[in-house]
C-alpha cells in the first residue's frame, strides 16, 4: 500500500496535509483499497465545523458505506466537488483527490497524528 511522506495519518486511515493554518484531508490508499470501487461520496458544506474524530463525510462502495472522521478539529473551507460526479477518483489516486480542506482549529492536535513512517509501521503491525 502506498504511503505518502510528509502527511499525517490516523488509525482510521485518513490522511491530513498541513499547509499553513489550513489542511487537506483525504483517505489513504489502504482505505480506498479496503472499500473497493467507490460509487458515492457524501461531503459536508463549506463553513461546517467539526471536532477531531467527528464523522464529517461518508464514502460508499457498491457493497459498503464508511464514515470518514476528522483527523483534527476545524472549519471546512472547501470541498472537492469533482468527487460528486467522479467518486472513483478516490480509488485512482487517494492522495491527489482530497475530500475537504479545513482551517485547523488547534494545530497542537496534529502532534497526536501518526507520521508516514509511523503509519507504515502501523499498517505492518496492526492491520
Amino acid at each position: 500500500m502506498k504511503v505518502v511522506k510528509g502527511l499525517f495519518y490516523t488509525e482510521d486511515h485518513e490522511w491530513l496535509k498541513s499547509e499553513g493554518d489550513e489542511a487537506y484531508i483525504g483517505l489513504s490508499d489502504y482505505a480506498q483499497d479496503a472499500l473497493g470501487d467507490i460509487v458515492y461520496v457524501d461531503l459536508p458544506e463549506v463553513d461546517d465545523e467539526f471536532d477531531k474524530e467527528e464523522g464529517f463525510a461518508a464514502v460508499e462502495s457498491v457493497k459498503a458505506a464508511a464514515d470518514v472522521y476528522m483527523p483534527a478539529g476545524g472549519t471546512v473551507t472547501a470541498v472537492n466537488e469533482d468527487l460528486f460526479d467522479n467518486p472513483e477518483l478516490v480509488n485512482e489516486d487517494p492522495y491527489e483527490n482530497w475530500l475537504v480542506k479545513i482551517e485547523v482549529a488547534d494545530k497542537a492536535e496534529l502532534d497526536e497524528l501518526m507520521t508516514s513512517e509511523e503509519y507504515e509501521k502501523f499498517l505492518d503491525e496492526e492491520v
Binding site: G36, Y40, D42, S61, V62, K63, A65
Partner: protein, 362 residues
C-alpha cells in the same frame, strides 16, 4: 463454529479473491472488483462458487405428499427433471426459508437451500416429518455447486459437453451431463436475471470443472465472480434475499411473492391458514421498489418516512451497477406503495426524496 472451506477455496485464493466468512463458509466477495464482475455477468459470463448452499434430499413413497404439506407452492405441478421455486413457512406465515426444489421423480426430490439456513431447515423438516413414509438426508457437504451465468454461458458450457443444451428449458435439469469428463447434474437456473446454468457435482471434481469453464470461456470474457455481485445482480433482477425481503417476520405475501404461495392448494400445508387470513384481511405492509431522487445510496435497514412519520424500512438498496441509479426495495405501509408516490429515505439522519417505481428495474 469453525468456518468451512468449499472445494474451490484454493482456486479463489489463487485468483486473488477477497475471501470472507459468509454464512460459515470462506467465500470470495470479489476478485477483480464488484463492478467489472457484475458487468461480466450482464454482458458475457461469470462463474460463481455456490457450494456453500445446502442440499437436502427427500425420498420415499410419501415424498410428494410430505413436500405438499411442508411447502407453499404446488409441488405436484412439476414434472420429472423440473425445478420449482417455493417458500417453506411457519404456521404464522413467516418464512423458514425460500429455495428451489428439484424433482427426480414422485419419490425423490432435492431441495437446494440457503447456506445460513441449512441446519435450521433440516431440523424443521425432521420435526415435521410426522408419519410420512420418507427419508430426509442432508447432503450439503457432499455436493459442490458451480453456477455459470450470463448471455455467453450456454456457448461456453456447450464446448465442454455433448449434451445439447439448447434443448434444456429454463427451470429444467438433466441428471446425467458429462462436463469436461466429469459427471454432473446441470440445471438451467440461477440468481442473476441472466440465462445460466448450475452444475451439481462431487466435491472432488469441482476444481477440474471450475478451471475447465474458466479456460473454455476465455475468448468470451468469462470472469470468476464473487458474492458481492451475486447480490447486486439478484437485486436488479427483482429477486428476494432471505433475511431482507422475506424472513421469519416478513411473510411471502408481504414480500411480493404471492405467485409462489398457492393459497387455494388442495392439500393443507404449514402456514396456509395464516397466509389465507392475511390475504383476506388485506396486507398492512408490503415491499415496493423505489428510485432515490436526491443524492445518496439507500442501504438495507435505513428508515423510510412519509411527511416525517416512519412507514417502514429499506430491505435492499444499491447504486445499481447496470443502471447507475440509486435503487431500492422497502417494506412499507401498503397505502404508500402506489406507483409515483413520494417517500423519504433517511440517510445519515437526513430525509432524502425517493419515488415508488415498478419492481422491474432492468
Amino acid at each position: 463454529m469453525t468456518v468451512k472451506k468449499t472445494p474451490l477455496y484454493d482456486e479463489h485464493v489463487k485468483l486473488g479473491g477477497k475471501v470472507v466468512d459468509y454464512a460459515g463458509w470462506y467465500l470470495p466477495v470479489q476478485y477483480e472488483g464488484l463492478i467489472p464482475e457484475h458487468e461480466a455477468v450482464r454482458n458475457a459470463a461469470g462463474l460463481f462458487d455456490v457450494s456453500h448452499m445446502g442440499g437436502i434430499v427427500v425420498k420415499g413413497k410419501d415424498a410428494l405428499a410430505y413436500l405438499q404439506y411442508l411447502l407453499t407452492n404446488d409441488i405436484a405441478s412439476i414434472d420429472d427433471n423440473q425445478v420449482i421455486y417455493t417458500m417453506m413457512c411457519y404456521p404464522d406465515g413467516g418464512v423458514v426459508d425460500d429455495f428451489l426444489v428439484y424433482k427426480y421423480d414422485n419419490e425423490e426430490y432435492l431441495l437446494v437451500v440457503n447456506a445460513a439456513n441449512t441446519d435450521k431447515d433440516f431440523k424443521w423438516m425432521i420435526d415435521h416429518k410426522k408419519d410420512f413414509n420418507i427419508i430426509i438426508e442432508n447432503k450439503s457437504d457432499q455436493i459442490a455447486i458451480i453456477a455459470i451465468q450470463g448471455p455467453e454461458s450456454e456457448g461456453i458450457l456447450q464446448k465442454l459437453t455433448d449434451t445439447d443444451l439448447s434443448k434444456m428449458k429454463p427451470f429444467h435439469f438433466d441428471k446425467d451431463v458429462v462436463v469436461s469428463g466429469v459427471e454432473c447434474m446441470v440445471s438451467r437456473t440461477g440468481y442473476t436475471g441472466e440465462n445460466g446454468y448450475e452444475l451439481y457435482l462431487a466435491t472432488e471434481d469441482a476444481v477440474e470443472v471450475w478451471n475447465a469453464l474458466l479456460e473454455a470461456g476465455k475468448d468470451e470474457g468469462i470472469k470468476p465472480t464473487g458474492l458481492g455481485c451475486r447480490d447486486t445482480l439478484r437485486f436488479e433482477a427483482g429477486m428476494p434475499l432471505y433475511g431482507n425481503e422475506i424472513s421469519k417476520e416478513i411473510t411471502p405475501l408481504e414480500g411480493g411473492l404471492k405467485f409462489f404461495v398457492k393459497l387455494d392448494k388442495e392439500e393443507d400445508y404449514i402456514g396456509k391458514e395464516a397466509l389465507n387470513k392475511q390475504w383476506d384481511e388485506g396486507l398492512k405492509r408490503k415491499v415496493a421498489a423505489f428510485e432515490l431522487k436526491g443524492r445518496g445510496i439507500p442501504r438495507a435497514g435505513y428508515k423510510v418516512q412519509k411527511d416525517g412519520a416512519e412507514i417502514g424500512h429499506v430491505t435492499t438498496g444499491y447504486m445499481s451497477p447496470t443502471l447507475k441509479k440509486s435503487l431500492g426495495v422497502a417494506l412499507i405501509k401498503t397505502e404508500e406503495t402506489e406507483l409515483g408516490n413520494e417517500i423519504d429515505i433517511v440517510i445519515r439522519n437526513k430525509p432524502v426524496k425517493a419515488v415508488i417505481i415498478k419492481r422491474r428495474f432492468l
